[in-house]
Assembly symmetry: C2
Homo-oligomer: 227 residues x 2
């Protein structure tokens, strides 16, 4: 059994997106287009609240319906640095290639497991359109190989987290970047500046299957697109 | 480059949890315990609706706050078979060991990538308590190795989906099973009967780090527990 160790730290994924108390009130028989809803207050709302107030049931929000998701997950500070995302382990996992040290002369470009996630808003868009929207953020969390043997056989089994990298597509902010993607390496830092194009973008441009994303290694994305 | 192929099919994950139109109305300065909320209608609600109706903003639900999640994800039919979950790719990913064919004489027990997910309700509970609740469902989706070489180096890169297996902990339904877990193999079937204990449970009991779950290979769970 080979036990490979990297620098170890934990980064929890217990962020809540809605910290304020919210109520979800289903109002039966009341239909409205998504566009209208997004415009804000409704002239007709008080009537519905008055007529519905005594009969509606109040329950805490349990919805994880991504189809109406409009939150932007890529946050930048005033210096234009990407703020380290905190809740990516609750995003949509798309695939986990592994480039082990022992298959790369001890020095893989990215050690070792690559757990890759897409933000929920862009996942909803991708399911609908098969394209990566402006605003897409994809996080790659690296983890060491913990062991090469377990009850299920020989192989590579994840160990401890090593750090994260991210890429963001933004047609305005990154108008001059290839396909409008910029790349960020965090390790354990709270924010990161965009990498020069030749550091990451060039390889993605040359080798990734769709819009500089390695969808050839992400069956979750391919399956969503095929539907 | 070695290209290993398995039987290929796609199984999309585009289920929406809240199909009916719902509104989220944040009522500022209004606090209430989760327990009270869960009791249903509130005597004081109409007052808040009346006073708040003209100022609140209506927006479609965008919350993915799992802390109040109460949906049960393990569904059984009348024959006691587990109904194949459909939306597990939108659950919480916990880890992806790989047991490649070429490291297991061509016949690993589970070929090859194991993408493992826990349902959102049980994830919320695990974050709070570090324990697997009754009702927990964990899905293992298998995927072939697509290639052993890519731009990021040598390794194992996911190919196509092969099928799923699941385990459910239920203190009532599986009162007689070890630690109340039962195991189900779906391949591509729409439902599955529980496996005999010696098929899966015995190995999990003997080798898994926490409550018959291989948390030693799932850094996402370990990190959540450590917080």
């Amino acid at each position: 059994m080979t036990k490979l160790q990297g620098s170890v730290y934990y980064y929890g994924g217990c962020i809540k997106e809605a910290l304020e108390p919210v109520f979800v009130i289903p109002i039966l028989g009341f239909e409205m287009s998504e566009q209208k809803l997004l415009k804000g207050t409704l002239a007709s709302l008080p009537v519905f609240l008055l007529t519905g107030a005594l009969s509606v049931q109040v329950r805490p929000t349990i919805a994880a319906d991504y189809s109406h998701h409009s939150k932007e997950y890529a946050k930048f500070n005033k210096a234009g640095e990407l703020v380290r995302p905190t809740d990516y382990r609750e995003w949509i996992f798309v695939g986990a290639p592994v480039t082990p040290k022992d298959m790369n002369d001890g020095k893989p470009a990215f050690p070792e497991f690559h757990n890759v996630y897409i933000d929920p808003t862009s996942w909803a868009h991708y399911k609908k359109t098969g394209e990566f929207r402006s605003g897409t953020i994809i996080v790659k969390e690296l983890a060491s190989v913990g062991t090469k043997q377990s009850a299920s056989g020989n192989g590579y089994f994840p160990g401890e987290f090593l750090g994260i990298a991210a890429t963001v597509k933004d047609t305005k902010r990154f108008a001059d970047r290839p396909n409008n993607w910029a790349y960020f390496g965090f390790d354990d830092k709270p924010r990161a500046a965009a990498q020069p194009d030749d550091a990451c973008a060039a390889c993605h441009k040359a080798n990734a299957a769709q819009d500089m994303v390695f969808t050839q290694h992400y069956p979750v994305l391919r399956a969503a697109k095929s539907k």
